[in-house]
């Protein structure tokens, strides 16, 4: 088990006041909130900060944590000294309302047992025969899955109350039919696959938020799909017919004469399927061939000579 330096996680000194700790927590919670932050590790950071705050905001737990000593370094192999918490009296406090599965082993070993336990269950207790809580999870699918529909297996971490009354985390794998036309950010509902209800109550529903695995070629925006299509200068200027990849296969696209970089060619209804299907756009990018040989350099010079062309006009040029 690794030692966790809660002061470092919060970015405060070991002698920080309770107010300083509170301020640090609020700032970091805003910064790493998974619904707000785009950082790839936002969720882990947010949880780590919540865990650190659960200890440091509570003077009793903080004092107990402090007497472990400042010699421990983050990541160091940690074993709590025997009876390390002797002589400390703990009262249950709320742990920012998180489920017990979200704290580290380090936290669980120190504060997760006995008298503390009571304080670290979900804050929003439901009436005893309530329906199980609806469970939210994310599922990552491929662009193709939305075009064609697919069956994907999802592994979910599921908290169950064991015979001893303590929650344990189990993995559960489900086979899910991904509906055609699903878009990133949408939710699908699996009836009665959420947490089991307490006291024989009905199971909640399972909601999965859809995310798309980034595709090397295609970009999804809402129900529309974009492709950057590279064309040669002569294709853009003279017009051409080019073969283009789309998620449903190759198509021939007509590049109109006098096309420009950034111009979008739309294939109506070739975006994500649905009652109102999205569109597919090829965004033109004019790619220049490199002049390596003398012959190619000469071709560029000849090209230049054939036009009276000033790409900048005279704007901003000092005469």
């Amino acid at each position: 088990m690794e030692f966790r330096d809660y002061y470092k996680v919060m970015g405060v000194k070991r002698d920080a006041t309770q107010d300083e700790i509170k301020r640090a927590y609020r700032r970091l919670a805003r910064k790493y909130h998974p619904d707000v932050s785009k950082a790839s590790d936002a969720e882990e950071r947010f949880k780590a900060v919540g865990e650190a705050y659960a200890v440091l905001k509570d003077p009793e737990k903080r004092t107990a944590y402090d007497q472990l000593g400042a010699d421990w370094k983050k990541g160091q192999e940690f074993r709590p000294p025997p009876n390390w918490d002797q002589g400390f009296e703990f009262h249950g406090g709320d742990a920012a309302g998180r489920g017990p599965e979200e704290f580290s082993d380090f936290f669980e070993t120190l504060f997760g047992q006995g008298d503390f336990r009571g304080g670290f269950t979900r804050a929003d207790h439901r009436p005893f025969t309530a329906r199980g809580e609806d469970t939210f999870a994310k599922i990552v699918v491929d662009l193709q899955d939305s075009y064609l529909g697919a069956t994907r297996s999802v592994t979910l971490k599921h908290t169950q109350i064991g015979d001893d009354g303590r929650p344990t985390v189990r993995n559960r794998t489900l086979s899910v039919k991904i509906p055609k036309g699903v878009r990133p950010g949408q939710h699908i509902r699996l009836a009665k696959q959420g947490s089991a209800g307490a006291g024989g109550g009905q199971s909640g529903d399972l909601f999965l938020e859809i995310a798309f695995r980034p595709h090397p070629k295609f970009l999804v925006e809402g129900k529309d799909v974009y492709l950057n299509l590279r064309v040669a200068p002569w294709e853009a200027e003279l017009g051409a017919r080019v073969k283009t990849a789309t998620p449903t296969g190759d198509v021939d696209l007509t590049i109109p004469r006098h096309s420009k970089t950034g111009q979008k060619l739309r294939l109506k209804g070739r975006g994500l399927p649905g009652k109102e299907p999205g569109d597919f756009y090829a965004v033109l990018q004019i790619a220049l061939p490199r002049a390596e040989t003398d012959e190619q350099k000469a071709a560029y010079r000849e090209f230049a000579g054939a036009f009276d062309f000033d790409p900048r006009g005279n704007e901003g040029v000092r005469q």
């Binding site: 609806d134 489900l174 699903v182 909601f207 950057n228 990018q285």
Partner: protein, 111 residues
């Protein structure tokens, strides 16, 4: 795939494409109380059609807004007005990011 496996495949529905959700539907999907939804409607965070709560019809898009608003309220101690502002700004940031992403790809095409 064996036929046995096929039988275990779970069917599902896309919440957002359901054209209309009643107040109780929305409460069930988002696990919130109807009082809370009324509060969020008062702030304009979600905008149902219909006059009375009993007649309210929410769009599928409301689900995400309510779910995120609840997380923001709980984790960052925002009130309904603050959560509504954050949601609107997040929508705007998302649109700008997507536009930027496209523009950047035009500037530096992948090889």
């Amino acid at each position: 795939m064996t036929s046995e496996n096929r039988n275990n495949v779970l069917q599902c529905e896309i919440i957002e494409t359901r054209s209309e959700l009643s107040l109780s539907d929305l409460c069930e999907v988002c696990t919130v109380t109807s009082e809370r939804v009324v509060q969020l409607v008062d702030e304009g965070l979600v905008e149902p059609e219909g006059r009375e709560p009993a007649e309210w019809r929410f769009s599928g898009r409301s689900v995400r807004r309510v779910v995120v608003a609840e997380r923001l309220s709980r984790d960052l101690r925002l009130n309904a007005a603050g959560a509504a502002l954050v949601l609107d700004l997040l929508d705007e940031v998302k649109q700008l990011r997507q536009r930027l992403m496209r523009l950047e790809e035009i500037d530096s095409p992948s090889r």
